[in-house]
Assembly symmetry: C2
Homo-oligomer: 347 residues x 2
Amino acid sequence: MAEASRISEARRDAVFARWVIFSPARSRRPTDLKSHGPANPSPGPDDGAPKPSCPFCLGRESECAPEIFRVPAPDESLPWRIRVIENLFPALRREAAPPAPEDEEPVGAGECAVRGFGFHDVVIETPHHEVRLWDLDAEGVRDVLLAYARRVQQLAEHPAVKYVQVFKNQGASAGASMAHSHSQMLGTPFVPPSVTSRLNCMKEVFERSGKCSLCAVVSKDILVSETHNFSAFVPFAASYPFEIWIVPRQHSSYFHETDQDKVLDLAGLLKSMLQKLCKQLNDPPFNYMIHSAPFGLSSSCLPYTHWFLQIVPQLSVIGGFEMGSGCHINPVFPEDAAKILREIDSL
Amino acid sequence: MAEASRISEARRDAVFARWVIFSPARSRRPTDLKSHGPANPSPGPDDGAPKPSCPFCLGRESECAPEIFRVPAPDESLPWRIRVIENLFPALRREAAPPAPEDEEPVGAGECAVRGFGFHDVVIETPHHEVRLWDLDAEGVRDVLLAYARRVQQLAEHPAVKYVQVFKNQGASAGASMAHSHSQMLGTPFVPPSVTSRLNCMKEVFERSGKCSLCAVVSKDILVSETHNFSAFVPFAASYPFEIWIVPRQHSSYFHETDQDKVLDLAGLLKSMLQKLCKQLNDPPFNYMIHSAPFGLSSSCLPYTHWFLQIVPQLSVIGGFEMGSGCHINPVFPEDAAKILREIDSL
Ligand SMILES: Nc1ncnc2c1ncn2[C@@H]1O[C@H](COP(=O)(O)OP(=O)(O)O[C@H]2O[C@H](CO)[C@@H](O)[C@H](O)[C@H]2O)[C@@H](O)[C@H]1O
Ligand SMILES: Nc1ncnc2c1ncn2[C@@H]1O[C@H](COP(=O)(O)OP(=O)(O)O[C@H]2O[C@H](CO)[C@@H](O)[C@H](O)[C@H]2O)[C@@H](O)[C@H]1O
């Protein structure tokens, strides 16, 4: 990259108000410790047979925690195409009594504890062990996104659920413990910390400028691709190299309220971004997260909340600087990452 | 652990206001992906000889970026015991022009960018390649901490430096690229995001309760060890399993103002905590970070800022839930971790 000689710069974004340090020179530092390469299992040819020990495979439904709903295959050649099931090892439990506000046990000054009530679900994206999300056609990806939306809608109706975090871990270095393509969803009885700080930041920007941070026009420099309804870009202050945000072009607070047509458009764009990352970065482990608004938000907050999907390829390990300061060091300028991603074919 | 059957609980701490989910059941989930075990290089016997390619070893000083200062060996048997040097691949550069307030280039609504000015230094903790920090005697560890303090003091005098993050990466999974025992320090021209949110949280607690979050008494349940001047405990809402905080018992805002005697006390406690982690968790990769106050704080903020040192063994990979929500899932209750750490010998 010619731009690698560019000097360092620090940037703060308008969504999380996080400072990020861009330092292309950092990518040239040596190492005498074993590096952590992409740790995705190489998908072998799909013979359609279930893997001996994978409970997410077709035919092994009985080894899973209870099913919440399934999405049938369009041609009924298979009993299901997507299954939404309970997580067998849930971080939060639906059986626990939901906390009442007066339940928050104050412990020390400012500390508090609540029972571990909540919902922790798994979305099995395909019956086949070797198929990756971006191997599905756009309609297949759309159905996964619609399954998220449908389950989020169900959880939104529970009065004690304040937020649902939808996320996907792909590959061991991205935290995945199961290789079979899946995503997860956690409905929490509190608004998680990053959601609170995101809302605070977007509120401040709105009050100061009258604008939603994510409605402000995206510069061409950082744009990767655009469809009628969505933009995919590398954010101006990306915390991670080759991080991509997919944002609805029309202001919208809740992911799960997106209508079917738009979800198909989103699915096509998501598929193409995952293909680009897979090609450019040699099938990297990655995470994606849907950042939506907490439930029951007052209508005065809606003008500055704007949902988006964040994709983060896992290319490096976080160190003590990031853990301590909350400030990331990114060796790749967003404009450079966007240029590379724009130029690479998605197919 | 008998307590593994305890049910989940969510806790929020009084320092960062972060929610954490405690879920012992999570530690029993299966995996069909390669796990990431501790990736520290096993230290071999120390024959004192420099490793062929390590610029941090004795005799290879010329392969390093410029030295800032060195700490002599007490008996002068060696030319140095500790060296503080410039980082050869700095994330921020001392040669860059420091940003003036009016320099912050507003980009979009709420976004901003500044030149990459700052200081990025490395502390070489020992001349010997195979010696780990906790192999040093308490005086040796004290001198490392005093070297941090001295360098922080120097940087504090630069008007454009707002904060110094002191941190250590040990082992590849903790981000280290160099095996030779060292730590780092980054002086930033902005107050990093986690520092801002820590101060906001501690301020709120102080205004509500009249108490400093870290002066409030530590319950015996989470205490690991105590000296005259410091407490070491597993925080009530620890984000990571076996995370330890070492906190001065007397209210104090700035790490670098700690006096020499107290630093020796701190050194002994730090050494003993690192030994305990090494023994209990089989020499895990870890990070530690010093959380101090930003420079030039108004005196009204001092009553609620209280510095501490956070040690985090790297035992698991972060997934999309944590990245998206900022809420960690910790399979080990702090009381259980503290009990184990209390019981294990540090020697
Ligand atoms: N038979 C069965 N029926 C139903 N569910 C089953 C099952 N067998 C396994 N599961 C569940 O399937 C899930 C698979 O999830 P992932 O592979 O995305 O990562 P995991 O949640 O293990 O942890 C990663 O993601 C979390 C959340 O981000 C991080 O806390 C963690 O550190 C990281 O490794 C697990 O949560 C597991 O409990
Ligand atoms: N000859 C020489 N003279 C002077 N300095 C030299 C040198 N050779 C190498 N260095 C520097 O020594 C440092 C060693 O640091 P660490 O091993 O703690 O991790 P590193 O900073 O590489 O990255 C980890 O920590 C950072 C900060 O947390 C994360 O951004 C990153 O992802 C993670 O891998 C490097 O910063 C390197 O630039």
